[in-house]
């Protein structure tokens, strides 16, 4: 076979061009650069701020969450809930959260399980308060670590999500969460949890629980934005997180958290 000069030049250029494409891909996917971009380029880290002083235990947030996120209303599981703490003069802490406080706290007696209630007289009480709970969207989420199929994962803006189409329902993530925020969805039969209403916050809206809270006890914000009012409070006031000892780096910050809170 003979080859003309013109053909030779044409084919050489073609080969060089063909090689250049995959080589440029190596440049495009430089892992170091990608990592740097991930660290610096990300402009959002969703966080939550709970002001326990403002919570009155009405349970509207739980109601709003159940409706918004289609968690069957009467099922005894919930993405968010409110706990009531009653510390009596003898130093005992009484805690309850009947139905996750979906209907608030209709009675002043403490729910102690098995359908029993404990009456506490007002004069015995030293202090009493409410603590709303939700997923902490940990920076080091144990649920993501233990998922055997990668069905639960963390987004770049810090929220931990569950892929309902991929979860096998082994329950390892439920076991791995120290905060008890996970459960099996009664309809979809896969792991379920609070995701800060990801479908809302990514469109510039508030979470359902923030919108339904009439007292401003719940706020969602972006920690990467120094002008965000939530960020300002977290940076300047004395906030605390739950169960720091597990090394999960929780991102739900609390104002007015005391040692009694579990």
């Amino acid at each position: 076979m003979t080859i003309s000069r013109r053909n030779f030049c044409k084919k050489s250029l073609l080969i060089a061009g063909g090689l250049a494409i995959p080589l440029s891909a190596l440049e495009l996917f430089d892992p170091k650069r990608l990592l740097a971009e991930k660290n610096d380029g990300n402009k959002t880290r969703w966080v939550f701020l709970v002001d326990t002083h403002k919570c009155v235990g009405c349970g509207f947030c739980v109601k709003g969450c159940k409706v918004e996120n289609e968690i069957p209303y009467d099922a005894n599981v919930t993405r968010t809930w409110v706990e009531r703490y009653v510390v009596t003069k003898d130093g005992t802490t009484h805690i309850d959260s009947p139905k996750g406080a979906r209907d608030g706290f209709p009675t002043s007696s403490i729910d102690i399980g098995h359908g029993k209630f404990q009456e506490i007289r007002d004069e015995e009480i030293d202090k009493a308060f409410f603590v709303p709970k939700l997923c902490n969207q940990c920076d080091n989420p144990p649920c993501v670590q233990v998922c055997p199929v990668g069905a639960t994962y963390q987004t770049a803006d810090g929220v931990v999500l569950v892929d309902r189409k991929w979860c096998i329902g082994c329950g390892y993530c439920i076991m791995g969460c120290p905060y008890g925020v996970r459960f099996f969805h009664p309809v979809h039969h896969v792991a379920e949890k609070c995701n800060f209403c990801y479908h809302r916050i990514t469109k510039g809206m508030q979470t359902a629980c923030v919108d339904t809270c009439a007292f401003g006890a719940r706020r969602v914000g972006n920690l990467k934005d120094p002008d965000d009012p939530v960020t300002k409070i977290i940076m300047t006031e004395r906030v605390n997180v739950l169960k720091e000892e597990y090394g999960t780096k929780p991102q739900v910050f609390y104002l007015g958290l005391t040692k009694e809170v579990k």
């Binding site: 005894n76 599981v77 809930w81 199929v149 082994c170 076991m175 008890g180 925020v181 039969h189």
Partner: protein, 415 residues
Amino acid sequence: MVHGEIWTLKEFFTYPNEYIYWTIQIVMYPFMTGLVAGAFVLSSLYHVFGVKQLKGIARFSLVFSFALLPVAMMPLMLHLQKPLRGIEVMLTPHFTSAIAAFGIVFSTYGMIVASELWFVYRKHFVESALALKAIEQRTPGQQFSYLLFSALTLGAYDIGHEAQESDERAVKKLAAAGIPVACFLHGYAGFIFGSVKANALWMTPLMPVIFICSAVVSGIALCILTYIITMEIRKFLAARKRQEYPELPSPEELKSAEANVVAMTARYLLMFMVAAITLELLDLVFRGYTAVKSWDILRSVIYERDFVSIFVVQYGLGNVVPFILFLLPGLTIKRAVLGTSLVLLGVFMMRWNVVIGGQAFSSSFSGFMHYSMPIWPETWETFREGLFGALMVVLVPFGLFWLLNKVMPVFKETH
């Protein structure tokens, strides 16, 4: 009804979403894998370390280990909320999870046992295939057996002296490779629990080692027990068939062989029992001595709520009583049956007390949960995660063993 709600009784404060999510099937999973690993280690004691006394039970425990293998997976499948997606663990393993290694460890181990069995039974496959080939007019049954055995030979028909010697070398190598893999298979089941930092009872680096030791204990106990049962059946059959086939061993011969094997194996059982109990007690003492934040609730679970199942059933009936039974001189078969059954009960209770006990308290450390196991299966869910589902898992390996024994006879001289 929410998953878990039907069998969970809550007391005092528990988080609203907390239920007993890991139930009887997750008790069965480490129990069954433990039996697999233990049976294999027992057979390896003969194949690798040349413990001659265990020759009688080595082949038996290898086949039994293989019969147990698929059953180790069954409880996991029964427990999954989406069992049809179980294969995803193999397809998209997420390697930061301890469970993700399951597919790899399990299949490696399965392949090792299968190839070891092939080398052990190669001679038998070849002989059976050749014998069936010689028959001119084969019945459909014989034709099936012929095809099966010729397939099992994998085309290697050489059973000369040299070939057999190289078979033995291969068995030895595979058995040696199998021991760490068997230990890993089960140690990693312990790691699944031991690495859950959210669970105060589970989280201890001792968990994998405790699991391995109790696995070997349960595996040996089950092998002794099943061995005794099969020997009793053989004695019964031998007494009947001896008129027809005088070359068969007499019931007396079988009896003395049986007593010898049982006594020898029981010694190894005791050794591993000592190791297992030492580690378990070390864990308990250490928790009490260090008394970290979780100790208050753990103490009330261990010493009050679960006292009977931990100290009476697990340690008392499952460890102390069989220990005495085996140590008393002049071990009889009846005593061995009682002892090994109690050991199996003890190991089962240990799994129960770890899995269910670990969920007996809320992670708020302020409340308790009680698991009431569903007995009568009213729904598919109460079958899967109830008594009958567990019984199914227990019975399947014996059926598989019966089938495997047709192809790979554990006792060669049986008719």
